[in-house]
């Protein structure tokens, strides 16, 4: 595949550009990274946890923390790859300015995807620390392995979101993606409760969605739950990352190189 002929320095230059912009406003951005999940964990973990007690044999706070870690990795990568990337592609002409250099369109997509995953990792690390403080992490020996997995989760969600970005006529279009893909995953992929409580056909659908596999990896790493089929989960996430990248590169080329 020609999309996989990437010059690392080009991809890195795209990533670095976004990093430098982020660095200028890192304070405000970090506040958002800490704030939202902190409220979720506090509100639901303590509030609901009091009534629920244990779920699948572990305290609800720990159960929820691993779920929120995954859903926020999804949200962060998705937001970055939709709204921020769209601004760079459509409003600011940033991608076009890059295309006037040796950087090619698929390298821009790769750089954007890496950057979105980096942001997932940044916000994931923030939640990781909050969860640790609130007692959401039971297994510190394996918990640190969650961080590279969060980067992979970021890649898996950034790829499809960049593909949506590449065909989007305006910011309003993203609402469809949130309503049809992101919100259902947030609610039905095991963030708040085990998916085996769902009707069978919903479970089947949930099994092909990336967030289910993200949760299935992260939760056992942070808690005492056993880890099953890790390669399957890693494989599904890698598939979404690569398929999303290929599709996004193709669609972006179609949009910009007409």
């Amino acid at each position: 595949m020609r999309y996989f002929q990437l010059t690392p320095s080009h991809v890195l230059a795209v990533w670095r550009r976004n990093f430098l912009v982020w660095k200028q406003l890192a304070g405000a951005s970090m506040l958002g990274n800490f704030g939202d999940p902190f409220l979720y964990l506090l509100g639901l973990g303590y509030g609901l946890g009091l009534y629920i007690g244990d779920m699948n044999g572990i305290p609800y706070m720990a159960y929820l923390a691993s779920g929120i870690l995954c859903s926020s990795a999804m949200n962060t990568a998705t937001f970055e790859s939709l709204y921020s990337a769209f601004t760079r592609m459509n409003q600011q002409g940033t991608w076009e300015s890059m295309l006037a250099t040796p950087v090619r369109i698929h390298e821009i997509i790769a750089g954007e995807q890496m950057w979105a995953a980096t942001k997932s990792l940044i916000s994931g690390t923030a939640i990781f620390m909050v969860a640790g403080l609130l007692g959401g992490i039971q297994q510190w020996e394996t918990a640190l392995l969650a961080l590279p997995v969060i980067f992979l989760i970021g890649l898996a969600f950034a790829g499809p979101a960049l593909a949506v970005c590449a065909i989007s006529p305006s910011y309003d279009f993203f609402l469809y993606y949130f309503t049809l893909a992101v919100t259902p995953m947030f609610l039905f992929c095991g963030v708040f409760y085990p998916i085996d409580t769902l009707p069978t056909f919903v479970q089947l659908i949930a099994q092909i969605l990336p967030l289910t596999h993200a949760v299935a990896l992260i939760r056992p790493l942070l808690t005492e739950m056993p880890l099953t089929l890790p390669w399957l989960h890693l494989g599904v996430l890698a598939f979404y990352a690569l398929a999303g990248f290929t599709l996004a590169a193709h669609l972006a080329a179609r949009r910009l190189l007409r």
Binding site: A13, R16, T101, P102, V103
Partner: protein, 305 residues
């Protein structure tokens, strides 16, 4: 390779069965400033995008530095100044240049002396740490030119480099572009301003409806296509009035809006007649590229295509 920087043979661009560029041939020699002129919708922008590899060629043959434009490495020899401002609004002037250098694989350390040189060239030395959003239109355009030079390109492509700028800013930009040409760079520019084309270009190509209408150096184009003198007259009541005024003189007339343009080898007799009629306002001037342009591409208004 035949020494040309750009070679296009039967170059064509088709969008949904409609030819925007209709099979044109041209080549651009190194070291010159080559101007592409044409009314809106003539195919200039599409042609420029094809030249830069931003738009796939539908048919024909096109090479840049003797290589196909799909070869990503040629981009390191080209600098691009787009019409649309796409500077990074989040960065300072200096950081804009530094980040852009990164796309060419130039490290920050190597870029630094080059950036200071370019800031001086663009008369922006005192503005290096300023946010881009605080710059005037002229400064931003100069910064875009500086940015296009970061990789020390052999070819610089400029899309309407002085559109929307005040005369002072335009003259500064022209002076900089001339100095680039003197230093041996090849320039390709599109423009709507005939004055700009006459000031800068060694060779011109007038496009209309996707075909080349004419090509040559500015002075030859003027002498080939229009008479040397023009009298532009306003205040004539109608065509009959204009015919009467020019009666017995060897004058070719064009009517655009409320003005009659009268072309001739010697316009003095016509000027004398105009002077006798106090209701007329008129200007007597040598023919310019604008007259060539209007003659060749017609006088009708063009919609943006």
């Amino acid at each position: 390779m035949s020494g040309s920087i750009v070679t296009a043979k039967n170059l064509r661009k088709t969008y949904s069965n409609h030819d925007v560029v209709c099979g044109i041939d041209f080549d651009i020699r190194p070291g010159i400033c080559f101007g592409i002129l044409g009314p809106n919708g003539a195919g200039k922008t599409t042609l420029m995008r094809m030249l830069l590899g931003l738009s796939p060629v539908s048919a024909g043959k096109y090479t840049l530095f003797g290589r196909p434009v799909s070869d990503a490495s040629i981009h390191s020899r080209v600098g691009v100044v787009p019409q649309q401002d796409n500077l990074d609004p989040d960065f300072s002037v200096r950081l804009n240049l530094k980040v852009y250098a990164g796309y060419f694989g130039i490290s920050s350390k190597d870029a630094e002396p080059r950036i200071e040189e370019l800031l001086e060239f663009a008369a922006l030395s005192s503005r290096g740490d300023e946010q881009v959003s605080n710059l005037s239109g002229g400064m931003r355009r100069r910064l875009m030119i500086a940015r296009a030079l970061i990789n020390d390109p052999d070819l610089i492509v400029l899309d309407e480099p002085s559109t929307g700028l005040d005369p002072q800013a335009r003259h500064l930009i022209w002076q900089r572009l001339r100095s680039l040409k003197e230093s041996g760079k090849t320039l390709i520019l599109t423009t709507h301003y005939m004055e700009e084309a006459a000031e800068l270009c060694d060779e011109l190509m007038v496009l209309d409806r996707g075909t080349i209408v004419t090509r040559g150096d500015p002075r030859t184009l003027i002498s080939e296509h229009v008479e040397p003198e023009v009298v532009a007259i306003r205040g004539l009541s109608n065509e009959l009035d204009a015919i009467e005024l020019c009666e017995g003189l060897d004058i070719r007339r064009e009517h655009i809006g409320d003005t009659w343009f009268c072309y001739g080898i010697d316009a003095r007799p016509l000027v004398a007649r105009c002077s006798e009629r106090s209701e007329l306002t008129f200007i007597h001037r040598p023919a310019s590229l604008e007259d060539v342009f209007l003659k060749l591409t017609g006088r009708d208004m063009r919609d943006e295509a």
